[in-house]
């Protein structure tokens, strides 16, 4: 096949062939090698990022582990997971008792989706008391847990009797159902959040009485005499 080629051409072909082969190898190895390396480097960058996030996460978890459970429970009392009407009514009655205010006509409305995204129920009630005690009572409603917002106040005095019709909004929200991904960053509590936790501490929490299970005083075997 190459018999007809001149000596010069043959020699050039023989000399150029390795040159072309090396260039092709350069391209193949370069392309394959660089793609593999960039794959490993991307994995490395991700792993380094994950390591930074996870280290930061463990540091935060270690720092807050002592106090976070207590704060979470307190926050759950301030904003419960289910309708807190009963607790709110109980708090209002306690507050009324302390301020010598007579409470009547307590009504709780249906569940409403508030525009804030929370669920709420409106609770209305009437109070009778001297003006000073009434004012003290109304102001004290801002310091109870579960959190309520006074919506409307209608106060009137008639024949020496002072009455007020008050409507409050009581909020709740279901608990989060999912934990974030393991590699998702978590942030430490901000100053505003820490302040809110401090504020929550000063709120009056509802007192629930836990009735202990009764101890068996009867017969252990109902069939024996």
């Amino acid at each position: 096949m190459f018999k007809n080629l001149s000596t010069g051409t043959k020699q050039i072909t023989v000399a150029v062939f390795p040159l072309l082969a090396v260039i092709i190898l350069f391209i193949i190895v370069g392309k394959f090698g660089l793609s593999k390396i960039s794959e490993v480097r991307a994995g490395l960058a991700k792993a380094q990022k994950d390591r930074t996030i996870l280290t930061q996460k463990t540091d935060i978890l270690r720092t807050v582990s002592a106090s976070v459970g207590e704060s979470a429970n307190a926050a759950l009392v301030v904003l419960p997971e289910s309708n807190p009407s009963l607790a709110v009514v109980s708090q209002i009655k306690l507050l009324a008792l302390e301020n010598s205010v007579l409470v009547s006509g307590i009504k709780s409305g249906p569940e409403i989706a508030d525009k804030t995204g929370l669920l709420r129920t409106d609770i209305s009630f009437d109070i009778i008391a001297p003006r000073d005690q009434m004012i003290a009572f109304i102001k004290a409603t801002g310091n109870i847990a579960p959190v309520i917002v006074v919506d409307k106040i209608k106060l009137s005095e008639n024949g020496g009797v002072e009455r007020a019709a008050i409507s409050v909004k009581s909020f709740w929200s279901p608990l989060p159902t999912k934990l974030p991904l393991l590699t998702t960053e978590i942030t430490n509590l901000t100053e505003a959040e820490k302040q809110l936790i401090t504020d929550m501490g000063s709120l009056r929490k509802p007192v629930f009485v836990i009735v202990p299970p009764s101890t068996g005083t009867g017969r252990t075997d109902p069939f024996s005499p």
Partner: protein, 175 residues
């Protein structure tokens, strides 16, 4: 005296220009091949180094992950706390009548014993107040107090009446 012998047949001889070119190409071959070997070895070394680094960091990450999994209760509490705090913030952001009530409260206390707070209606945006003043001096003192204060943007006297039996009835719309 040296004699240069060329025993090749004349058709196998090459020109000097071609000879130089061939020499250059062969030199280029050697350089390129050396370059390729260095490049390939460098690539392989870098790949190996990066892989070892990745393996070491990955095992470190796995260790930290298992540490975090063991702190799952704390993480749950953090997530719950942050969720509640954000929502408590939302609830506290809802406009309350207490703010406007706190602003009118000093005036309520100053309503004299002879006067009568007929009606006070407050919602988060506005306040309507009706007071029956027994005497002209009580009415003047209240009006002076409320006009001197700067806590309200607008105070409108919506109705005003006089009844010899009860006194002056003044109704205010306050923003």
């Amino acid at each position: 005296m040296t004699v240069t012998l060329n025993l090749l047949p004349p058709e196998h001889t090459i020109s000097s220009t071609l000879g130089k070119t061939l020499k250059l190409v062969r030199m280029l071959n050697v350089i390129l091949l050396s370059g390729f070997i260095i490049f390939a070895l460098g690539l392989a070394a870098f790949f190996a180094f990066s892989s070892i680094q990745l393996q070491s960091i990955s095992s470190e990450v796995d260790e930290i992950k298992s540490l975090i999994v063991s702190q799952e209760k704390t993480e749950q509490a953090v997530v719950l706390l942050k969720d509640r705090l954000a929502k408590i913030g939302m609830a506290r952001g809802v406009v309350s009548s207490i703010k406007i009530f706190s602003r009118i409260e000093p005036f309520l206390i100053n309503i004299g014993p002879n006067s009568n707070l007929s009606e006070l209606s407050i919602d988060p945006q506005k306040l309507d107040l009706s007071v029956v003043f027994r005497s002209n001096s009580d009415l003047s003192a209240f009006l002076k107090n409320i006009s001197d204060s700067e806590v309200f943007k607008f105070v409108t006297l919506t109705t005003f009446g006089y009844n010899p039996a009860s006194g002056y009835l003044a109704t205010f719309h306050i923003l």
